[in-house]
């Protein structure tokens, strides 16, 4: 009956939108997963003022570093789930057979992952920055840095998630693989805030972050797609 020759085909962008929408719907129906990442971020950041003591000068100085490291760690938390659910229920097999490029599907999954696990951190950061008495200008640069940097974490993390797919104890291995690769993001992200608080311009650091983001956008979907094909064998 139904099969006709005139079926509507999904376009590349339609496919991208489909994957993003699907992952967002799934995330909304499993809200606990999303919240744990955010709560972990808030907890880690809030522990520092309690542990270090209320010396404003010191807190101001370490604010950017603490926020960035916490963002890095909490983004590791959710990476394990990026492909594993789809791998276990067979959806990943279907994705590999999609008539569009697998890289595009992967890009969709990365985008959704960032919207669910990276964007909330960026939105939360100004509130947490206040705990450290960060000046407004530094706070602004921190937000821009996080906005540019957290997508890189999702994208580079996706490569690790694809490589460790289906491995036992993959979570720890994933962090060991991905964290070193994220060091440049950490350096430029905190460097930007540092620069602005010492009265210099943050533009150079932020443009380097932007360049990293563009590089990641171009290469990581393809690399992740190849890693997924290897993991499926």
């Amino acid at each position: 009956m139904t099969v006709a020759t005139g079926m509507k085909k999904t376009t590349l962008l339609g496919l991208l939108a489909l994957v993003i929408r699907r992952d967002l719907v799934l995330a909304m129906r499993r809200r606990a997963d999303v919240l744990t990442t955010l709560i972990f971020f808030v907890m880690v950041v809030s522990l520092f003022p309690l542990g270090v003591g209320p010396e404003m000068d010191m807190l101001r100085k370490m604010a950017a570093g603490v926020l960035w490291v916490a963002a890095l760690l909490s983004s590791m938390l959710s990476l394990g789930r990026l492909f594993s659910a789809d791998y276990l229920d067979g959806t990943l097999e279907q994705m590999m057979l999609a008539p569009q490029s697998l890289s595009m599907l992967v890009l969709g999954k990365m985008t959704a992952h960032w919207m669910v696990s990276g964007l909330p951190l960026v939105l939360m950061a100004p509130v947490l920055g206040l705990q450290f008495d960060m000046p407004v200008q530094a706070l602004g640069v921190l937000i821009i840095g996080l906005l540019l940097g957290t997508p890189i974490l999702s994208m580079v993390g996706a490569i690790g998630a694809a490589l460790t797919l289906g491995l036992r104890g993959g979570g720890v291995l994933l962090s060991l693989l991905v964290l070193p690769l994220c060091i440049p993001v950490l350096i430029f992200g905190t460097g930007a805030v540092e620069a602005v608080s010492t009265g210099l311009s943050a533009v150079s650091h932020l443009s380097l972050l932007g360049a990293l983001l563009v590089l990641a956008l171009v290469f990581t979907p393809w690399v992740t797609a190849q890693a997924l094909r290897i993991s499926m064998e």
């Binding site: 009956m1 139904t2 099969v3 006709a4 020759t5 079926m7 509507k8 085909k9 999904t10 339609g14 496919l15 489909l18 994957v19 699907r22 719907v25 799934l26 129906r29 499993r30 659910a85 276990l88 229920d89 067979g90 959806t91 097999e93 279907q94 994705m95 590999m96 057979l97 999609a98 008539p99 569009q100 490029s101 599907l105 499926m232 064998e233």
Partner: protein
Amino acid sequence: MLEVSNLACSRGDHRLFSGLGFALHPGQIMQVQGANGSGKTSLLRMLCGFMMPDEGAISWGGRNTRDLEEDYYAEVLYLGHLNAIKDELSALENLLISAGLSGVELDEKEALAALRRMGLRGRERLPTKVLSQGQRRRVALARLLVSDARLWILDEPLTALDVKAVALIQELMAEHLARQGMVIFTTHQPLQVAGVEMRSLSLS
């Protein structure tokens, strides 16, 4: 159309099969037979490109599927042991998404019609986690109704299905073959498709 030549596969040190060759033409159906562990699923996964064969080549319309990539995938519908169904989504959402992934944009009416033909009337909007095993399989099989792929690769499509659903699958296969489609499948249950000669391939 689908040609396999001199295919070999091993898992670990164990050689599952070697020197395997066959051709499947439009309108033909082939059942892959063999004991548990004889490499049926491995063969089907190779045909889908998930696994690299140790030796040999798989070609589609005279060209190696490794080179065709997406052009070949567009012609393939694969249904494996895993249903590729999300528990959190309803049957309807699942079908719309899996059709979208396979490149077909469905509207809701078409998807509902397909689900109803699969005997899921009244269950279309329930989350699939409340459905039974057989019903979930039916949701997965609804993809057969909304796909325009020419080659169906079905790994144990009949598991968890009742007699009525098995009859429906036979009917769908017959329709697909009449449209000059191709089917390659495995099953441990008897399956007859009316009016077509069933080819069989034994792995030992």
